[in-house]
Each structure stands twice: as structure tokens, then as C-alpha cells.
Symmetry: D2
């Protein structure tokens, strides 16, 4: 029997070329797996493209609800932001991709997994997740090995008669999922002005946001966001809805230049409207119902959780331990946070929680003011 | 109906005098409550003494197993040591005393609780626990109010015909329970040499320990110490047994001069043989089965937990959150630690855990060396 | 000789009444001291008012530059924000007020200091600072003792023929200085809508900010902000300038409901445009030139520093230790941060530092991308 | 001109063989450099051995005082212990070795540095230090490349006529310097009982220590240990003296099994009598003169410092920042700590500091008890 390799297939140039390259180099059957984390591309046509490129099968998996429930939610509840500030968009998707690849490798009896991650930190993250789940599976990163330029990759495909996606040449590296979108570029090619253009999730240049402010009331029950402006929604719907609302007001676009573990990244735009709004609201509500000593512990947990996600230590006893304390704290995180969205800015303008009463029974509080707080919160 | 006050009754001079003083000052009925945390005194006679002093009732409650299970064990599992070094003997007893007093106040329909704590930090700790459990109950600290010297307290009792315990005048303040004993003294009265005498739990002067070393194997199952040298025991028995064994080798006597929250304490001897051995063994086993990032988090939790116990924040959402993560980590803390006890010193000389295998499935380890570790651990 | 009391005199109702009350109650001469931290009131007339109220002398001290240089700057460099988010406006002023009061008490040979702080946390903070500087000086808080309502205070003054400032009755408590303004109100009296009115430093309702965005380039040299848009300024000028520019764009208004150490505060508006812009710019530049392990330490220092300022532990070996490390780090914090100010929002849109080269010699970096970063930073 | 390689030469089998191997493989001249950190071997004969093995030169550098002053002392003052418990013996030597190698490479115009470190963590540590000092110098680790067993290394030397040291075959890996000695062995070869034998620095089996306890008074001036039992000594002399005294009482031998960054180490004995005594004494004195909030910060610094040393981040802005705060704190760390040394155990039995008075002027203290403390401290 021929060896089998499960390939995380995005439909882009590199992973399309990788199908033929891996088959030739490893003498293996390639099983393409496309995991829908809400990246919003047309995934239907990927199936055909993968087969045309030589894959023996192509599985398209809808993992959006699982992503929201088991990856986004715990990290939201932990207040895990990279450097205390940036939503973890790409890093949160990696462990779920790893999990799906390992599951599929077992079903398909494959002995190796291949992926198209380019950035070293990102490669290490994915590989660490796979290794934690199944140390016996090999992990291949074709792009790390072959050293093709974009043009060479296209040439490689053409000589083998493989149709490749006619993507425009771009200096950007985009990664998107339900939680947001990151657009990275390297230093020397940085045409900064284009970032004011239309290539963004927010669908508008910086500053062209809705002229009137919007007010959003986020309802949490035990740490879970359950309604927007009083309308109950599933978590996936709620994130999509907030992405639209907050995005229309220019909220959630962050520009960063990170000094990465392996040196500085040249620059990244992160667009994550729902993440920015939800993190702000959750942090505010959690602080509102927590004593200062608890709040300080929560902030330590948040720092540790963000480091863990960033470094790909998702499947670990450390996360089990952090999750246990985060879940316990969420029991009190019930209430409503009112936010004002205004051209790029998001501010808390009201807060309300019935669970203040809980704390009152444990620590002496000013009963009057807390009660007043519960009745009305336009503040 | 007359008001009722529940008094934490130790049987000593101050709390005996306090019965009459509280009754007179507050015009109330006094319910004495003596809580056995393993302090090892003759508690039977206290009942008579309390009634003779004017109490309308005296309840003697055996809370030793509850103390071991719900107070000592969680803090042991959290590796909570004051300043990272000293077992928390007195502070761990306070929340349980508070809980029993509040329960008894409800049963007796009392509106206030009184106690004999002398040191300000200790008073604040107990009162914080009571307030967290029931903010409606008043807390009285007669010794803080009356300002009696020892002689005045005796005189006060005599003029009222109350028999008081004929305790020898002493510059020491001793507090003892199942977990250990602390002997505090204030600076100006400090006859240091007497501390080499026989007044100690360890029942021998410094340096007069057993001449031959002993080896103890501590077995933990999911963070719970369950056997000594292979002999299964209840937690209470196990602590008593270790107190005897380790005490005989002079292990567990620590001398400290703490810069307290309210200024420096003049000096404290802490004798806690079982606590010292169990903390060392538990920490070692936990570290042995934890990855470095988890171990660092555990150390942060330990620091936070110790501060929490010290400041009397036991009944709080913060402890719930810390406990949740501690309990999760304990699932892996199974194994045996071998210790050498030798005139005052306790060293780890071997370690063994079947749960190394667990970690291997999540993070790549050197399989060979870990397996070897499991087979024999005389090291 | 009559006893003397030095009173921190704000010119408001309470401290004006306090002059007569303290003189009568303590049989003492009252020395009024007004310290200009940039609160922007008319301080000239205070001199007359204090004498009219019975003070034997009134000193008006301009401490603005000292406040900027020795209090604002170190905490800015430490990235010290309350709860990681809110500028420390009122708490930063307290140690300098304490220092000036102690100096004046020594000059005037006064044995006590009096102040008009109302909130318990704030009283404790000021008193802790005084005690650290001179434990022999008594601290009096008339407002804690007399229990006057506002009307009673006015009546008290009138019966003694003391002219009091005809301030409008207000449910607000305002504290202002060079670094910003806080407006606090208690729960039951909270007419939230008025906070959208004109009583603010920002001189405009929420949302009525300048319609066009502004771009600001902040230049730092070794951690000190030295120029705005390339124009060199003293620190005091620079803060005033940024307050105007950023305030005009609605930046720097934060609404919070803090769960205080002594229970929840009902609500606070903090208006600190310069502080918000400078903290964001400094944090960004510091992160830009720091390796991740250093950045993590800086964040721990920031948390500790904020707690220290909040709790009034300013004059302490702890601050000396934190300051030493903060100052060391600042040696690398040289560069320019470009910010976009837009109706309430402040975003980093560019960063530039010549000191990337320094780090390159110590840790391997991607030289190309860092150099590119230095040349142009519109990104 | 021929290329030149500077080799860290220990005189052992591997580095002796490496001289010829590097010369042959790289066609380079080999400059042997032996750095005396107090490892106590006969270093004189190494010179001849290196030349006989083919080195063109051999430099023997005495770096003991520099090691004590610039590496041991700062980490002692920072209370940096691995995992809060183990002295950092080997890791502290690496940065100084790196520094000397880089200096010598510049003098000799060498383009590469070679070393004989075997353990991956240890290799990474040394290489990180070299890279921080001079990223242009190549670092070679022959032992990582050649894959020789011990027998093969001897055979390789014999075929080239190189005399190699006739060391006994041993499963141990010993590293020694002024600060202590570590003896590591891997899991499968672990003849645990031999560790009770005579191969140790302490020159006696476990338990055969001096029968009478000793008392040692350690005097610190501003964080620097300056005298033992009142006798002033240089730091190097003091460490040697304490090694003898404490070693004679069996103090300072620790056994550990570390879960290394790259998996668990099979086992290590660390013998560091002076380090154990000095760390205990310094920590105790520092805590004695520090308020609790400062003490907590110190403990955070200690954790960060230990991680930094362990991971080879010595030459970094992070260490500069930590050192700055540590040095500031040391200004108060003056006093005497009295210790009891008794068969393997070291206990603090007295403490004394004139600088308590300093703190009293900054925070309210119980003056009486502190003064008493200063007069006599037999405790």
C-alpha cells in the first residue's frame, strides 16, 4: 500500500502546488483536507481544484461552531490577548486545524501531515499541536523545504499540467477565520498606503466608517455572550453579527509591528471587530463583578493564556489548569455591558449585573450603590 | 429574649474571663464553643470550666477530619507556604473556626460572635472570614477592648468568683492544631535560650534528634497523600504519624522573624514536621510530572494562595478560582517520593510516577529516561 | 506658643470651613497651603479667601514642573495604569501634596497636617505618604470627623461670619491636575445624562469632537517625551499641548465603575487626553524596542507600579527598586510613534526607532526588515 | 592566512580529540583556551596537552575573581535559584566562558568558536551568549556533529598519535566551578548507590558529616557578603571558606530530577555548600529588611533572573533591567545572619540589621521590637 499524507488544503497557490510536489517527492497519496473556520472563501470549488491537482480525495469540513465554542470562547473568557492588546486570530485556529488533521490522518491511515504555514512561529505552533495530539505522526512543511519563489511555484505547476489559482501577485499574507483577519507583509515590500484601500474585511478605507455612533448591549450569561441588543443568538451568529455592526463603524482594525520571538515582524494589520468588542465587554463585566485580588489573578491568567495560545501549547495540562480556573470565575460573569461604537473607537458606557448580590454576601460592599447600579446603567 | 453571643472558647485565661466580661458588658447569654482542630489539649474539662465561668452552654466540636480534608489538603495541593517557605499553621485554622462559629450562631440565634485572637493580623483574618460568611453577624474581640494585663484579668475573674486556669505566666503565645504549632514572643521579653528547652511539640531540644536517619516513602494519589511507607492511612492519621516520625528526627522546626503586614514580629518558632515533609514531597512530585510552563503557573498560584490564606480571604471567589486550577493539576500528581530525614534536615532522595506516560502523549519527552525513572527510584 | 496645623487648602467649601473648625477644635493656628499641580483654577484669590476664613498665613506653591518631572514621568515610563487601563490622575498628585505639606510643616514648625480628602481610599493614600515622610507628624481629616452635610457646613461658616465660595450644589466630586480630571459621583444620585453635558474638561459633549482626524508624532528620547510633531517642548508644555489637541478629538475620556478596595465606586469619568496618548505611544515604542522576555517583565513592573501609586506606597524602597529598572529600560526607548486621533479613538499608525540597531548587537534580528522600518513608517 | 578557531579547552577526552578533528575538518588553526572558574583541576598540564594534540597555542586564563564578582554575586543578590531551590552552578559559568572566548577570538582574529558542551540546553545557553556578544562569530559544537562514542573518540585520537587523558570510563558528567559541582547521569545507566560514594566534592558519603553542629555568622554590607564569623574576606576566599565549612557538615548536597525544557533529565546531584548557605542567608536578611510588597517584587525578580540565567539570556537588556532593581534593593541589605549547620541541614537561628531604622522612617513599625532585635539576636 502506498504511503498517505494528509494535507491542510487552503486552495491557494502553495498548497495546490504542494499536492503534486508531495506526491512526487514522497511517492505518496495525498488526501486534501479543507477546514472551514469561517474564512469566508468559496470552499465548494476547492474540492475540484484539489482533485485536479492530483489529490486522491478532498474532504471539506465545517468546523465553525466547534471553533467558536471550544477555541474562541475559552480564550475570550480568559481575556487572552496577545501582549494584552491584540486578538489572537491566527494562533487560535491552529490547534483546531491540527486536531482535524490528526483525526483525518487516523481515519485515512496516513502517516504524515503536511501544511502550508510559512512563518516560522506559525509552523512551530501547528507542529507543536500535532505532536501533542499524536507524537507518532510526521509533520511536513513543503514550503520550508522546496524554497520556491511564487513564480517558480507557478512554473512547477505548469510543467506538470496542474491548474493553479490565478491569484494576483501580492506582497500580503492574509489569514482569515470567523474571529478576524490578519494581513501581514514584510518590511522591504511595504506599500503602506495600499492598506488604506479596499482589500480589507472592513470593506472600507480607514476613516470612512458610519457617521452616526451605534450603541450595542452585550449580554453575558456565565461568561458566554448570548445576546446582542437583547436578541439571543448562537455564538457563531453573534460573532458574525458583531463583525458586521462593529466593522461598519470602523471598530476592530489594529495595526501592529510585533517584535516576534524570532525577530521583529515587519507589520501586521489585524481586523477583528467582533473580537475587539467582545473582549472589551467581557473584561469590563468580569472586572465589575470581581474583587481586586481576583482581578489581579485573572490578569495573570490572561497573560499566561495568551502566551500559551501564541506558542501553540494549546493541548497541554497547562491549558487544562488555566481553563479550570477561568470556568470557575465565569460563574459570576453574568450581566450586560453597553458600548458605544464610533468611528474606530469602542467605549464602555454602561454596565449592569445581578450578580453583584452574590459578592455582597461574601465581602462587605456598599449595598446602596451596587443596587442603584443594577437598576439603570445608562451612566 | 436576651441577646446571645457565641464565644470561641479555648479554655485559657482570656477566653474564660471573657465569658463573664461579655455577659456583663453586653447583657447577653454566652454560648461557649470549643473547636477541636487537633490542638491536643484536654478538651473534656473545658465544658465544665466554661459553665463555671458563666456560659449558658458549651459545645465541643470535633472538626479534625474536616480541617484536614477541606483546609489543610487544598493548601498543601496548592503548595501554599508563607513567603514560599513557612507552613500556614494558624492562618489555616481561622476560616474553619469562623465557619463553625457562624453555624453555631445561626443554630443558637446569636447576633454576635466573640473570639480571643490577640494579634491584629490574626484578628483581621478571622473577622474577614466571618464577614464573608455572614455580614450580618457582629464580631467582638474582648481582648481588643478591655486592655487587661494578665494580672488584671486574673483579678477581674477573682472578684467575680470565676475559677480561672492556673496557667504559668509565660511570655509565649502558643497556637497549635493538627498541622503544627507556632510559638510567638515579643521582642523585649525574648529569653531566646529557653527555646532550646522542652516546651516544644518536638519534645526535645534542638539537636537532640534521633541519631540514625530515617527514610520515608510518601505515596500520593491525584494529589492526596494516601500512604506512608506503603501503609495506607486516612489524612488525619497520616499527618499525626508524620508528625511523630519527622519530629523524632528534628525535622520541621523553623525559626522566623517576619516583617508582618503591621510591622515586624519579634520572632516565631514554627514546629510543623508533617507539614514540612508533605509540602516538600508534594512540590517535588508535582514538579516531576509538570512541564516548565505549568510549573511556573503552579508557583504563581502557590504565591497567591498563601497570600489569600494569610490575609483571611479564604471564603472568596478568588479561592474558588485557584482551587479549580489546583484540583485540575492534581489529576497528574500520582506517585511516590522518597525522603531522607536526618537531624533537622529533610531531603528528597527518590521519585517515581506512573503518570510520566501521560505527559509523553502530549509533549515529546525522552521516553527512555522517563521509563527508567519509573522502574526504580532509589536515585 | 500656640500649636500650628498646616492645611491643604483647595479653596472649596469644605477646606474653607475646615480653617475655622480646626482652629476652634484644636486651639491652633492654621497655615493654609495651596499646591498648584495644574488644576487650572484661579488660585490667586484663594490667598484672600483663606485669610478671610481665619488662616494666619496662606502659601501658594507652583509645583507643576515638579509634578510633571518627578511624578508623572516616572509613572508614564513604568506604563503604570490602574487595572492596566486607566491613567492614575488623582493618586499621582497625592504624594507630591504630602511632600509639600511635610516641608511646609517643618518650616512652620507645625505638629499636624490636615487635608480635605473625602474618599477613604484617597485619605489612606495621602496619610500613608505623609507617614512615610515623617511619622512624627499627625494627620487630621476634618471631613472624616465632623460629619457635616454640605448645608451644615455652609451654616457652620455663616454662624462664624466666614465667607464661603458660592459653589453650586453638585453630586459630583471633581479632582483635576495637569495629568487630567476625574469626576466621581455616588450611585443613588447619578443623573447619568448630565455627563454628556458641558461640565467636562474636554469642553464638548460626547461625540461632538473635531470632524477631521489629526495625526500626531510623539518623539521620545530615552523614555522622555520631548517633541510633538517635531516641535520640542518642556514636559509641562507638552502635556498641556496634547491635552488640547487630543481633547479636541474627544480622545482621553474614559468611563469606569471600579470595584474599589472598599467596595464598588459608583462611577467615575476620567478625562486625561494627554495621559491616554502618551501612555499608548510610550508602551508601543517600548514594546517595539524590547525583546519578549523583557516586555513581559515590563508588564509585571507596570502592574506593581500602578498598585503602588494607587495604594499610596510612593515613598518606599519598593518604588526605588521599580524606578531603577524602569530607568534602565528607558535607555533604549528612543524613537517616534505616529498616532491617529479620530473622534474618541487613538490608534498607532507608525513607529520608528534608531535603537533597533542596539538590540541587533545583542540578539539576532532580521536586519533587513528592521532597517526598512527605520526609513519610513507611514505603515 | 589559515582560518582560526578558538576552542574552549577543558583538558578532557572530547575537547582534546576536538583539536585534531576541528583542524582536519575545517582546515583551521586551533587556539585552545582554558578558563579557570575555580574548577580546581590541575590546569598547568593542560597547556602541554593542548599543544601535543595539535593546538597552535593554549591560553590559560584565571577568571575566578571576575566570576565571583560579576556573575555569582549579582545572581546571589537576585536570589536566583533554579525552580526557586537549586543553585545555578553550570549555567552561571557559561556567559563568562562565552565572554572570554569572544575576547580571545577577537585578539586571535578567529572567525569561529568551538566548545564541548554536550547537553542541548547547555549548548543553546552558551551559543546564545556568544551570539549576543558577537553575532558575526560562528559557533561550532564538534560533539554535536561527529557522533563519536567514547571508544570511537579514543580510537580517533590514537590513529592520529594524539595522547588523550586516561580518564576512567564513567557514566557521570561532572561540571565544577567555584560555585559548586554538578554530577549528572542519564537514566538507563544510573547506578544510584555509587552516589553515596566518595566521588563528591563533599569528600564524604551522605551522612558521614561532622558530628557537632557549627554556627556561622554571615555579614553582608549592601548585599555583599564580606565576612564569615567576623573575619573579613574577599568574595572568592569567602566562597572557598564556606565550601569547606559547610561541606564538612554535609550541607549543600541536593539531588534533583529536573523536567528539562527538552524533557526530563535523568538525575543530577548538585553540591554547592557555599551557594546554599549564602543564598539562605541573603534571602533571610533581604526579607528581614523589606516590606511585604517589596519582598513580593523581589521574589518575582528572582524567578525571572533564574529563568534568564538558565536560558542563557545573560547578555541582554532584560538582565540590565533586573540588575538595576536588584542593586537598588541591596542598599538596605546590611546585617548579620546566624546559621546553624548540622548534618546536611542549614537553619537560620538569628538575624540582626542596623538598617531596620531606615525602614522605620518610611513605614510605621513597632519601634520597640525592632530595636530589641538589633541588640541581640541569639533567637
Amino acid at each position: 500500500m502506498k504511503a498517505r499524507i494528509v494535507l491542510a488544503y487552503s486552495g491557494g497557490l502553495e498548497t495546490t502546488v504542494a499536492i503534486g510536489w508531495l506526491a512526487a517527492t514522497h511517492g505518496a497519496e495525498i488526501i486534501a483536507v479543507t477546514i472551514d473556520l469561517g474564512q469566508g472563501r468559496e470552499l465548494d470549488e476547492l474540492h475540484e481544484r484539489a482533485l485536479a491537482a492530483g489529490a486522491v480525495r478532498c474532504h471539506v469540513l465545517d468546523a465553525r461552531d466547534e471553533f467558536a465554542r471550544d477555541y474562541i470562547l475559552p480564550s475570550l473568557q480568559a481575556d487572552a490577548l496577545d501582549q494584552g492588546r491584540y486578538p489572537l486570530v491566527t494562533p487560535l485556529g491552529r490547534p483546531l486545524i491540527a486536531k482535524k488533521l490528526v483525526e483525518m490522518a487516523r481515519i485515512e491511515r496516513a502517516t504524515a501531515i503536511a501544511h502550508g504555514c510559512v512563518e516560522p512561529t506559525d509552523q512551530a505552533r501547528l507542529e507543536r499541536c500535532v505532536r501533542a495530539l499524536d507524537p507518532a505522526i510526521d509533520v511536513l512543511a513543503p514550503a520550508r523545504v522546496w524554497g520556491f519563489t511564487r513564480a517558480e511555484a507557478i512554473a512547477y505547476a505548469e510543467t506538470r499540467g496542474v491548474p493553479v489559482p490565478a491569484t494576483v501577485e501580492t506582497p500580503y499574507r492574509v489569514d482569515a477565520n470567523l474571529w478576524g483577519r490578519t494581513i501581514a507583509w514584510s518590511g522591504s515590500e511595504r506599500p503602506a498606503d495600499e492598506f488604506r484601500g479596499e482589500r480589507h474585511l472592513l470593506k472600507r478605507p480607514w476613516g470612512a466608517a458610519a457617521s452616526q455612533p451605534a450603541y450595542v448591549e452585550m449580554t453575558f450569561e456565565q461568561g458566554v455572550p448570548v445576546a446582542v441588543n437583547g436578541v439571543p443568538m448562537s455564538l457563531t451568529e453573534l460573532i458574525e453579527s458583531l463583525t458586521t455592526i462593529a466593522g461598519a463603524h470602523g471598530v476592530g482594525r489594529l495595526q501592529t509591528a510585533r517584535y516576534g520571538r524570532a525577530g521583529i515582524d515587519a507589520g501586521t494589520i489585524c481586523e477583528a471587530p467582533a473580537a475587539v468588542v467582545l473582549h472589551l465587554a467581557h473584561e469590563e463585566l468580569e472586572r465589575f463583578v470581581s474583587a481586586p485580588t481576583l482581578n489581579r489573578f485573572e490578569r495573570d491568567v490572561a497573560t499566561g493564556y495568551a502566551d500559551l495560545v501564541y506558542s501553540g501549547e494549546w493541548f497541554s495540562p497547562l491549558r487544562d489548569a488555566l481553563d479550570a480556573s477561568v470556568r470557575k470565575v465565569q460563574e459570576h460573569v453574568t450581566g450586560v455591558i453597553r458600548l458605544e461604537l464610533r468611528d474606530g473607537a469602542c467605549h464602555v458606557v454602561g454596565r449592569q449585573s445581578p450578580l453583584g448580590l452574590h459578592d455582597q454576601s461574601r465581602e462587605s460592599l456598599d449595598t446602596t450603590s451596587r443596587s442603584a447600579e443594577i437598576q439603570g446603567f445608562r451612566g
